[in-house]
Symmetry: D2
Subunit: 154 residues, 4 copies
């Protein structure tokens, strides 16, 4: 496995995930080289992230038209460890790796049905004000909910 700069101990890192969302590779997501096109895992990250935020109760507010804040993605990265093929089911794991004032560093792990990790990723998401475009701090409750999404680190 290549060195990935956001993972120090892969065994520990993997163990911390609690939440996952399954996704099936679509035919239209393959390319002429015969496997999943490399732009698609970012779509999978988005859908797993949204399921994660629904799970902890954040998404419902963010989707209301009159809500003051929306989440925006500040950066994204993905490391491709194994080729993925049509019709596979990939379990996309999400955790809040670290929580800032108005941002969160989300980590992602894609697992094939045989248990192999096929891709990993991360990205910062910021809660911003629709009006000002500036970061809006998380409430204490929100912070707790995100932190409790990660298995306790001893």
């Amino acid at each position: 496995m290549p060195k990935i700069n956001y993972i120090s101990d892969i065994a520990q890192w993997e163990k911390e995930f609690q939440f996952s969302s399954p996704v099936k590779v679509r035919f239209s997501e393959t390319d002429m080289f015969g496997h999943l096109n490399n732009t698609v895992p970012f779509t999978y990250f988005e859908l797993a992230r949204i399921e994660f935020f629904k799970h902890i109760g954040f998404m419902q507010d963010w989707l209301k038209t009159d809500n003051e804040t929306i989440p925006v993605v500040a950066d994204l990265q993905c490391d491709f460890l194994q080729q993925v093929f049509f019709d596979e089911t990939i379990h996309v794991y999400v955790k809040a790796n670290s929580v800032g004032t108005s941002s969160v560093d989300l980590h992602y792990m894609g697992k094939r049905q045989n248990g192999n990790i096929c891709f990993t990723g991360r990205g910062t998401m910021v809660q911003i004000s629709k009006k000002t475009g500036k970061g809006v701090p998380w409430s204490d409750d929100m912070k707790k909910l995100m932190e409790s999404s990660v298995e306790v680190r001893l």
Copy 2:
């Protein structure tokens, strides 16, 4: 060539197109069978249609947040005549085949660089009110602009 129910005389039909927009086939738009995935020409229709409506001056208003009306697609169809491959440039032609009270029947033709037609299509678009969701009649000026987009039929 197969019989296509919205084309009676293909030579005449082809001649009537005046407007076209070029598009280059992306790698991510191919699939594992090695050619353009069949869902993608509808994306090409959308972009050619939008360029067409910008060309005759409609799109600018429809995109304003406070505009009363938006265009919606009522139906779409596509006939695939030839396989299309990565990196080809396709010229996507658009014409207003017939204009109704608040709708228009748009026809599409995709041409490869060698002049062959690779796909044809059509679809009804309706101008609706954002508030009521109901059709809003075209003005006489709008009708004339759409009708003049087709080569005169003698």
Copy 3:
């Protein structure tokens, strides 16, 4: 409901579907008008069609690299009856409406969770030879399997 040229009796047409595949609307499938982009139902047709062909046992052969035949889409159409929104689950129904020598006319119906039909569609698919590009007739077994996928018409 608008008149759709491939549906004569909608109640009867609807009743004939036996197979369906669920799909959840992704955030990346919405557009700036706030609802499902009109190019996406064709992706849903593709995935439901593939599940259908796996269900009746055809897909497995077509995906083998050394298989003589592949299925190609000859045409596709979609009628948009209701706007569809982010995070909805749509049940996409498929049936073999009529079976030709080497082709099949597939019909599609998208249903929201409240039971409303949000879109309908159809499209011809042809089994062709990879070598010659020409249609390869269905075996009798294949015909029977496709025909039995439709509720008996009395």
Copy 4:
């Protein structure tokens, strides 16, 4: 501007790009938040990367069915600096930031028409053997071609 770990001196970094490819934001690439969906810049990276490799003469071989090697993407990342909107033309710049034995670290910069950088990115690409799946070293000529794609660093 946020700190981006693959850019030390942004003014210098920006100056080194020589090659760019324009892309127009499609309607279907926006999402219900009203701007370019965050998964799409990776598609833009892919098309700019391919144009870059055509420009220096690598792509032509990689696309031949009987060619021994293909390029694979090992990782990708993107930093989103400004929201991008429908119908904008983005110039996507590419450079070979550093060349390894069988890999290359490509850097990307997206620029709006007003000259602002809207996103930056990078990703490693590896030339692998189709048979073994292992890295195949660049020839000296290939190395030179990639290195000459970057403005000389003094």
